[in-house]
Symmetry: D2
């Protein structure tokens, strides 16, 4: 009854996910791995003590008889072809964000999945599985806040490497918020605008940092997200939903509170992997359980597509400085 | 050595200020009052047990020999003429906001004050005297946050009466933030934009509520202010300054923290007068001390003018939906 | 490689643990159950869809060939005999608190375990597995607080049923603190004193509530614990460790923070099962992993014995009103 | 109508109070000062620009015709004689704590005051005027917490000088709590016990630090106070009142909250003068107003006496290690 999983891409996140499935989660086993760098794939097998075969290519891995389900954690530009191949093979596939690097790529996946006749794809938007965001979702859904009117949010990293350039603030950073707010609000985006505050002296030359992204939803909710990837002080995810009847703030991550050295203080995390560690567990367990039950849920190809479309418009808004319309195609009944 | 003060306008705020000066503050005495409704002026004299003469008009009050300094707390549209008269008479004048209902009116006051050759006007922007904002000013000035890059703020009231219409969100509500941020940042505004989120069902028909105001400063700081005047839950002023080296949040007002009835909770104030009660004390004491010393400080006519100009552009931005430029004339050396 | 587990006692906690092992944890399977009420045992098998045999007695269950490890979640007075039988059978055994209802009973278990030559018993002190307490343990162990000098703690329940009488404040409630502080401080108790504040009107006639327990450790740390089991407002566990270099407070459980209805508030849990839900998961996973590896860790028989001795003295102190000495026998090298 | 005040003792606190009265408060003027060190008294007159005569002795100052009211801020052992002299002269007198260094000394003052037939003495227990404690008093008085059952409190200083010895933890430090809790609870003490935790390595050789004081009131409220005068991290006053219906915590002093350098932190004060700065203002203003109105209120001689009696028993309990009874004489109707 164990779900036999193949992992395509054994970099940092692929190895982490393999470790989770092997050591923490239940009901899944890694039986196959592949990576553009075969030696690295082999090294992961050894480090984690996996009973897994190393495949020369993702396509072969997907085709293997003993692979029940696929994890795509390879380089972004390769996601589309692997997800399409998994769909073709009729195998459940968990794909790290982005689902594809273009909206059209996402659309191709959607078309294939609809053609296949059942949901096979779960996209790696782990925030939906974070306990704090789940409390927020319940608060909104339960009507406790009345109708949501605004969201104030921030996504801050202590620092980013030289290769992180301005559009990555959207594609690599905001992408999580783009999915999260759609899910929280059960809504779609209508327009985007990007503002560039004075740049921090701690940012590299090729990145505008911080940025302020303004989103408008179809229902009229206004969202402001600060993206600040060289904020120095820590990895910090803030989200407050303002409703007609009150406001709810996302909880701070658990920490001891100290009275020490003249300060009443608690520590702020530095690492996103630690911030969403539990969410990754729940997310992957949901995928394994879904694969075992033949019923994949969670963030769908459609959600990946929606985030891609919104992301593309945000990048356009970065460039134009204008308020840019976001036009979502009609949602197929398939994605209910 | 007591500063003998005349109060023009004995409505709620005029009576409050008279009470403060009489019962709480030091060095000042109310010796003269006037109001468009003379009976009300008389009633205040009696309620507070003042040894004060009731004048038929503000102009007569200003002219009275035994009036050393003037408080203008009358209806907004009358402020300009009384302030001009006080300047003409060479008497220090404290004027509640707005300094004048038009930018040109403020400009007239500035011209008169420069002509008079010394500062005589203190504008009633009491937030500068709030202990929390003063801590914020010190934090910024002391360099602890590095260069400020963004401000996230909110101005929320539990509810507003029927007569409160959309532009009042700027002229009556945002006006305080408009002065406060200029002062905190030692900066001027460059542009404004106003967004209208979905409207709360608790708002009257003639007011868009909430609103989001986006301001850009000359130095490039980006400011977002949520104005939400039917937020239901309380009177709540939020301000976070995001700098290169960290973020500072305005303190919540003092309150007991309860563990009770399933909640860890502290009470939120409902009344702006209570929120800024201490600030009003400090503000008026500063005016009395300044009048006694012949040296008026605090928010100047220029500050009142700057807020008026920015406010007018914000109203224009409410109407246009566009990003509107704010053009401040050059600051005269007089207001150095 | 799955650890085949037998559960003795299928009441609320036995069923909960069976559910965890079956649905949430990894590496274990419930293959046998027994209960003094055989029908209830059968009902649990059905509710959870277990592939488990119902045994007529705990002793038979322990003896069964396909039972690798035992969970004792039966009525307290039966714990001793089942744990002894499991040790006799050489099978790892997880025993809910109390290990035995008398210190002598615990001692009997210790003697049997030492005789058996290896650790087989893990006692159900789940707080050691709570993420907040683990942060506290690290803070103390890492020297960040300097030497610990005092602990201020509270253990509050919203209410207790009629059958909860005064000594249960020790045996059922404080028992967790008695283990937790020994573990946090790596220390033993030297004396105990119990104070009875004015009784709450919400307490039943047979229970003194609240109580204040004062403990002194061998190293000289002074601990005060408020026990308040009809506090009304919620289930609330507080712990602050005061050290030479600062103080650390246990985190509040995760909750949204609301601004609503005049309050800045977060919800307090009402249910201890929810408070320590994650800790139960980690605790039982540790037992399964330990059983699989043939190496049981966590709270030992010795810890169960130490808590029993301290608990007995606390009850004596309840009765005497005096400061009562706690004398711990020397720790056998076996429990290192 | 100005109250003409003479100050006996122009050390740090005497100078501070003179400065307050002169620069911040209303209705009072310092017209006379004396100090055992006449030069220092003269220096204070000059530093503050007082229009005040320097008297050779406190007695002469009290006798001076133009002195309406007296502040006793001299060395503790001299308080009694000056307060008695002021009563004799029929002049309102504000006396810093202690009212007298012995309970008998306090009793002498009480007898004299009753003899004089009206309240003349206000004792310098400033915490009653602290806005946080006043909120607490209201919460208790308003019944919001139900009957109070326990108080958990702490009084921490960053460090104390060499001359601070063990009994000073009571006479100089706890003395404030001793008055505050009587006032908050409207209750008297019944017993005291003192525990000595392990000593911090930061304490000098002549002081046991920290200490835990346990108080029992006549109504049965149990109070624990941690006194920790070398806690290193700051000046920190904690107080939580546990009632039948919930718990209230004293607010933390106002501070900005920072996100900076890996911490979510606010600063803790280091200096008690800053912590109770506003309370001192309100306290002295109340004295001036009371003197002007011929009606002295606030902490009375009886309160000073009660604190002295309780303090003496606490010191006895420090020495005996036992639970010591506190016996308060019956309160004269005079102190209603």
């Amino acid at each position: 009854m164990t779900v036999r999983i193949g992992v395509i891409g054994t970099g940092m996140i692929g190895e982490e996910h393999s470790r989770r499935i092997t050591q923490t989660l239940t009901g899944g086993a890694i039986v196959a791995v592949s990576d553009v760098n075969a030696e690295q794939a082999q090294a992961v097998v050894e480090r984690l003590g996996l009973d897994a075969r190393v495949y020369a290519s993702g396509q072969e891995l997907i085709a293997a008889d003993d692979v029940d389900a696929v994890l795509v954690t390879s380089w972004g530009p390769t996601h589309e072809e692997y997800v399409l191949a998994a769909i073709e093979a009729g195998k459940p596939v968990f794909c790290e964000k982005p689902l594809a690097t273009t909206a059209q790529g996402c659309r191709n996946i959607i078309d294939a999945e609809i053609e296949a006749g059942k949901r096979l794809v779960q996209v790696g938007f782990m925030r939906r599985y974070d306990s704090g965001y789940q409390l927020m979702k319940e608060a909104i859904g339960g009507g406790r806040l009345g109708e949501p009117l605004m969201i104030h949010a921030a996504h801050r990293n202590p620092e980013v490497p030289e290769r992180y350039v301005t559009p990555m603030a959207i594609h690599d950073t905001l992408i999580h918020e783009l999915d999260t707010f759609r899910w929280l609000l059960d809504d779609d985006y209508k327009s985007a605008q990007v503002l560039f505050p004075r740049k921090t002296r701690h940012a590299h030359s090729k990145v505008e940092d911080p940025q302020m992204v303004l989103l408008e939803t179809v229902k009229g909710v206004r969202i402001d997200v600060e993206i600040f990837v060289n904020c120095r002080y820590g990895y910090d995810i803030q989200c407050a939903v303002v409703g007609e009847e009150g406001i709810a703030h996302l909880p701070e991550p658990q920490a001891l509170q100290y009275r020490q050295a003249g300060k009443l203080a608690s520590e702020i995390l530095q690492d996103w992997k630690k911030r969403f560690n539990d969410a990754f567990d729940v997310e992957l367990q949901a995928f394994i359980d879904g694969a075992a039950a033949g019923q994949i849920g969670g963030p769908s190809s459609w959600d990946g597509y929606a985030a891609a479309i919104a992301g593309d418009v945000c990048v356009k808004a970065q460039e134009s400085g204008a308020i840019e319309a976001i036009e979502m195609p009609e949602r197929p009944a398939f994605y209910g």
